[in-house]
């Protein structure tokens, strides 16, 4: 199976090619920063259902997917979008109404689970979570686990430290690896082979990408290979992990991309208000997601003025003194 050297393609093709009904997916970013929103909207537009989503704190993207009814199972550490929605609203409703099955972990556990997947080992150890209900309460039943080979047989396992009391630990908690079918991330720069450069915090994007069977990258800038190779120290994801590269400027809007644009707190608040009722949320998604053909049409709908207001200051990387209340 030869890997093509040029992996660029339109986003709708990449989603169609790699994200299927029932796929296990993960998305990059954290709460209100660098969520792969263009990819999320495209999944919604293509009406892909029954997705199994692995998330640490993937706020804005997660709530859109849940609100659109794309998700049936969720493994998660945190669902919030910062000040705009301290708890993701469609997420909370869906869990309360038992519309999705949800299993809880911590942010470190989820990070380690992706890291285990990236490393190719079945689990990683941690000293987090002893005595908590995260350890004892499972969101997926034993029978569900047995019937689905894509779900691990146990949520978490505690073992005695086989090295005595080495590192002052008597017990160790093991978290199982995640290897998603597809991971969707949004980065600042990528080349056509798929090598990626993330600017600012990487969250768990690198681990999520490396753990995944396929990776769809959307990027602010599609650059020449030579451009990225002028400083290999800044490139975190080499091309061999990546399946598709889609050039989507402002592809994380309305979440922030460090050095490019800030989050749009007005828009996020509007979505938060709409999320409070099913009807309002449907109207919102009808207008802003289903009502447009692609991300560029969506951005037209938002309008140049809003986009200009959130443009990043080149020195600080965010929009200085932007109105945020």
């Amino acid at each position: 199976m030869e890997t093509p050297m040029d992996k660029t393609m339109p986003l709708h093709e990449a989603i169609q090619l790699y994200v299927k009904n029932g796929s296990h997916i993960s998305i990059g970013g954290f709460t209100l920063t660098r969520n792969p929103m263009a990819a999320v909207y495209e999944i919604i537009r293509q009406n892909i259902r029954d997705l199994h989503l692995y998330a640490h704190s993937n706020g804005a993207g997660l709530d859109e997917l849940i609100g659109a009814g794309c998700i049936s199972k969720l493994e998660i550490a945190y669902a919030g979008i910062g000040k705009a929605a301290p708890t993701c609203i469609r997420f909370a409703r869906a869990v309360q109404n038992k519309e999705i099955l949800c299993e809880d972990y911590s942010n470190y556990m989820m990070s380690l689970r992706f890291m285990a997947g990236a490393m190719g080992v079945p689990f990683l150890p941690t000293l987090s979570g002893f005595g908590s209900d995260i350890l004892t309460r499972w969101g997926f039943s034993e029978s569900l686990r047995e019937s689905d080979p894509k779900i691990v047989n146990k949520k978490l396992v505690v073992i005695d430290n086989p090295f005595g009391n080495w590192a002052e630990a008597e017990k160790v908690l093991l978290v199982p690896a995640i290897n998603p079918d597809v991971t969707l991330i949004h980065v600042q720069k990528a080349d056509s082979m798929g090598t990626c450069r993330i600017q600012g915090l990487t969250f768990a994007d690198i681990e999520q990408a490396k753990a995944s069977r396929n990776v769809i990258v959307t990027c602010e800038e599609l650059v020449e290979k030579e451009n990225l190779r002028q400083n290999p120290d800044l490139n975190q994801i080499p091309f061999l992990h990546v399946s598709a590269v889609c050039h989507v400027p402002m592809g994380a809007y309305p979440t922030a991309v460090y050095g490019y644009y800030d989050y749009d707190s007005q828009y996020l608040k509007k979505v938060g208000r709409a999320a409070k009722t099913e009807e309002a949320f449907k109207t919102y998604q009808d207008t802003y997601i289903y009502g447009v053909k692609n991300h560029s049409e969506f951005l037209n709908l938002i309008g140049k003025d809003r986009l200009r207001a959130i443009a990043a200051d080149p020195e600080t990387g965010y929009s200085v003194n932007m109105k945020r209340d």
Binding site: L127, S128, F203, D325
Partner: protein
């Protein structure tokens, strides 16, 4: 009412927490008022303390208040930008983790300082679903000191949590150690009524300070479990200097402090 304090509840809460932060502390900060307390400590009493986020930013230069721990504002001029995995490893690692103090909030707390940020009602079909652990369970497992911000209400200071998201002293005594956890958990609770601490032997919460104008009874009637208030005294209110720095240098737009 000439004793009415010249500060809001959020202001005194922020100052009470800031005072607990020592110079050279590495301050793990959650969102909202936690960030403000960390910023205030740095500007008031602990100039060499360092603000640190679970998302991987160490010693961020906060020129504006971030709205989340992933806000681009925390990435600017940090000592290093890394990842979730790196940030939590720094806390799990005893050599560095022991230098960290955490500041965070919760939806429910019990007498042992265990926290719930997951749900109210049954886990499988909750009445109210909250965001979940985030890094809370990790931090309370790893670091020796933690300040928890709470609204002081009976349904939040409960006898039994609906879900134990983040471990405090579990069931008190040596139960935390026996479960496999290192010493740690919530050590200070700061509410709109007072400041609570934990007995070293029993692991139980007791009232340490009540704010000017607040009585022990106010606190007891807003706490579902039986709390020891016998050692309590009145808190020193925020000074003019503290309030001035908080209002003018930390949150001039009152984004967190509110009106």
């Amino acid at each position: 009412m000439n004793k009415a304090p010249a500060y809001t509840p959020k202001e005194i809460m922020t100052i009470m927490a800031a005072r607990e932060i020592k110079n050279n502390d590495i301050v793990f900060s959650g969102t909202g008022i936690s960030m403000l307390a960390a910023m205030a400590a740095k500007k008031i009493n602990a100039p060499d303390s360092v603000i640190f986020f679970e998302t991987g930013a160490m010693d961020s230069l906060l020129e504006e208040i971030p709205f989340a721990v992933a806000d681009p504002r925390i990435m600017y001029r940090a000592a290093a930008n890394s990842s979730l995995a790196d940030a939590f490893a720094t806390m799990q690692n005893r050599i560095t983790g022991d230098k960290v103090i955490a500041v965070l909030g919760a939806a429910q707390i019990d007498i042992y300082g265990n926290l719930n940020t997951t749900c109210i009602g049954d886990y499988e079909s909750p009445r109210i679903r909250f965001p979940g652990s985030g890094g809370g369970c990790d931090v309370l497992s790893f670091v020796p000191r933690c300040i928890a911000f709470m609204q002081h209400e009976r349904q939040k200071f409960v006898r039994k949590l609906d879900y134990l998201t983040s471990p405090g002293q579990l069931a008190g005594g040596d139960t935390r150690k026996k479960a496999g956890l290192r010493p740690g958990g919530v050590s200070i609770v700061v509410t709109n009524l007072g400041v609570m601490r934990f007995d070293k032997d029993t692991g139980r919460m007791y009232l340490d300070k009540f704010y000017p104008g607040i009585t022990q009874d106010d606190i007891l009637s807003n706490t579902e479990f039986k709390m020891d208030v016998s050692k309590a005294s009145e808190a020193d209110p925020p000074t003019e200097t503290e309030l001035k720095i908080l209002r003018e240098d930390c949150d001039p737009q009152r984004l967190i402090l509110g009106p």
